[in-house]
């Protein structure tokens, strides 16, 4: 039970970040590495903000905003300064590493164990019945991610959201619609990195400290979640086991969150089976490659039938 809750907590935290990666990877078709630095940025800002006595709930918005700004920077470098997409992300990722240390007050490790957080504060302690406390974190995380997901779903169905989807699908069409495709990309990157930073904020409050190394491999986790989730629950032009079982179809955003939980469950399983952490990254890589190759294979088949 503890394990299950643990996996859910981890999966939900990183699920928020995975929603961001879903925007860049699936919708925008933009390989954005900056999430590796916006995740710890959210954590760093949150640690500093909590120490400064800022309301924990407010830090969620603060982190999202700051992440969005960083996303704009990546977009600006790519769109206006005409640097290749991958490189723009790397530039921001590298630069933010130093900035993150500054955001954290020059420290690489900032504990906030004694501060109020969204998970632990007098208000919650006052209204929550005792029996609920083991599930409290999962409940709060669930609430946050549902809000994020619903907002994202709603956004993707607005006119602006349509345009965002169009720019990843067919840039030329966005130009034809007399819209600057560059600005749309910047907007998308802003939202994506906002989510990543928000996830970092939640991570920091959940773990009780900020550590500069928390960003390592964020993008890999995000991509794995997106790919696992989408392949599992709503594969392109394919039929998922959901339709085979006559279950209702889910939106990609839901699939991505499920993917994040599944990924964390796999890691947890690997650890409890005695897999050494030394090998985990290699295994993640291989898992990743296999999923990509398998899905690419499918895509080809679909095309040749068309």
């Amino acid at each position: 039970m503890t394990l299950l809750l643990g996996v859910l907590e981890e999966g939900l935290i990183y699920g928020v970040m995975a929603l961001g990666v879903y925007i860049t990877y699936k919708i925008l078709d933009f390989p954005d590495l900056s999430v590796d630095s916006t995740f710890p940025m959210g954590a760093a800002l949150t640690a500093s903000a909590l120490l400064a006595g800022i309301n924990p709930v407010l830090t969620l918005f603060l982190s999202f905003g700051a992440g969005a700004l960083a996303g704009c920077a990546t977009g600006f470098i790519h769109v206006k300064l005409k640097v290749r997409d991958l490189l723009s992300g790397i530039i921001v990722m590298t630069g933010l590493y130093s900035l993150n240390l500054r955001f954290a007050g020059g420290r690489a490790n900032v504990p906030v164990f004694t501060q109020d957080t969204i998970f632990e504060n007098p208000f919650l302690a006052g209204i929550m019945p005792q029996w609920l406390s083991p599930y409290l974190m999962v409940l709060i995380l669930f609430l946050i991610i549902i809000i994020c997901k619903v907002l994202l779903d709603l956004y993707l169905n607005t006119r602006s959201g349509y345009l965002l989807r169009a720019v990843g699908d067919n840039e030329a069409l966005v130009t034809s619609l007399a819209k600057d495709k560059g600005m749309v990309k910047i907007l998308g990157l802003a939202i994506a990195n906002g989510f990543s930073s928000l996830a970092g904020c939640i991570y920091c409050q959940h773990k009780g400290f900020f550590e500069i190394s928390v960003g390592t491999g964020t993008i890999v986790m995000g991509l794995a979640s997106v790919i696992i989730g989408i392949q599992l629950l709503c594969p392109e032009n394919g039929t998922s086991f959901l339709s085979a079982l006559k279950l209702p179809q889910v939106r990609p955003t839901t699939a991505v969150i499920v993917g994040s939980i599944v990924y964390k469950a796999c890691i947890s399983l690997a650890i409890s089976m005695g897999m050494e952490a030394n090998d985990l990254k290699l295994i993640t890589s291989i898992l990743f490659l296999v999923i990509l190759v398998v899905s690419a294979e499918r895509r080809k088949k679909v095309k040749s039938h068309a």
């Binding site: 394990l3 390592t216 952490a277």
Partner: protein, 361 residues
């Protein structure tokens, strides 16, 4: 359109592979001897102890989470098990050890601890600051006592109150360096030296606080500290070159990044005939002149004894202040001294915990 993804994915995979590699290369650089008593039979069967039989028949399950693979940290773990054994808690007899190493990945670290918690361990041992913090974060919610070690500044990490008393069911040992004793030793070996160079990683908290301590104490021994900050392993060679231009000797902290690249620094220093002092036994073994340092095995033992007290129910973790190692020990390397044409004073070498006669590569 899809092509950029292929590149992207390839890059992402390369990055993750590299991260994996750098972790293991750090290991080969610093782990000279590798007993690894616990790593082999780690956690394959996770039977919970549960059996709360009357005295003598008790058995325990302990989860050891280590933040990174690193000679000193490995020694800590080894010492920890020895310390437990001294108190009659022996692995394989009445102790089940679950050991995991997070390879410096914060995400993995928290999953490791959650796993321990789900297997209802009696105690979690967190080695190095981030792992100790993660363990505390989980442990305090699950009511599992946490013992930490190799945390340089438990107060700054909010793992202990300013007076050393516990913040919760958590206590352990600090690997704070014996700075004044190190300075005293350097003065004894190099009577004419004026400047000491220190290289550190700007992102490592422990290094920052130790440097401050060095700067504060250096004047008392007639030294001036020249420090140079780096951010990654790749910066080490250039930083070493520039540092070596300015100093009479170099002393090391327990800075993970710098320690992992120590051979590079040693090589450059040897060419300029500048002595390099270490901060613990492993560094002396691979070519530092001498160290007034921590014996991490001893530190681990001390930690293990504290853990035993908690497991046996003699004391609660929340009742014990964290401890620092009582005695710093002298380690010297005669081969290095010979190469440099330096004689280590008799009173030091005779009191040495260990003198090495060659350089382990």
């Amino acid at each position: 359109m899809k092509k950029s993804f292929r590149t992207f994915v390839a890059a992402a995979m390369a990055v993750s592979l590299l991260a994996g590699c750098s972790g293991s290369s750090g290991q080969t650089a610093t782990t000279a001897q590798d007993g690894n008593p616990a790593a082999g039979n780690a956690s394959s069967q996770a039977e919970t102890s549960g059996s709360q039989a009357p005295d003598g028949g008790k058995s325990y399950t302990v989860g050891i989470g280590q933040f990174a693979a690193h000679g000193s940290l490995d020694n800590c773990r080894e010492g920890f098990l020895l310390g437990l054994a001294e108190e009659g808690i022996v692995e394989g007899e009445n102790l089940t050890v679950l050991y995991e190493n997070s390879q410096a990945d914060g995400g993995i670290a928290s999953q490791i601890i959650t796993n321990f918690a789900s297997q209802k361990v009696d105690l979690i041992c967190g080695i190095a600051t981030p792992m100790a913090q993660t363990a505390y974060g989980v442990g305090r919610k699950q009511n599992i006592p946490v013992i930490f070690t190799a945390v340089t500044d438990p107060v700054a990490a909010e793992l202990a109150n300013a007076d050393g008393s516990p913040v919760g069911e958590i206590t352990g040992t600090s690997d704070k360096l014996p700075v004044t004793q190190q300075l005293e030793m350097i003065r004894a070996i190099l009577p004419d030296a004026k400047t000491i160079g220190i290289m550190y990683t700007t992102s490592e908290v422990n290094s920052l606080s130790t440097i401050e301590e060095y700067k504060a104490a250096a004047g008392d021994y007639g030294f001036e500290i020249v420090d140079t900050g780096i951010s990654t392993t790749a910066d080490v060679p250039l930083a070493a070159d520039s540092l070596l231009e300015k100093v009479d000797c170099i002393t090391n902290l327990t800075d993970n990044t710098v320690v992992a690249s120590l051979p590079v620094i040693l090589d450059k220093a040897a060419k300029k005939n500048i002595p390099v002092f270490g901060s613990e036994i492993e560094q002396v073994k691979i070519g530092c002149l001498a160290a007034m340092g921590l014996d991490y095995i001893e530190l681990g033992k001390q930690t293990g004894r504290m853990a035993a007290a908690v497991l046996k129910g003699e004391k609660k973790a929340g009742e014990m202040n964290y401890e620092v190692i009582q005695e710093a020990a002298f380690y010297g390397n005669a081969k290095v001294a010979e190469n440099l044409g330096i004689t280590i004073p008799e009173e030091l070498s005779s009191s040495a915990k260990e003198m090495f006669t060659d350089i382990t590569q």
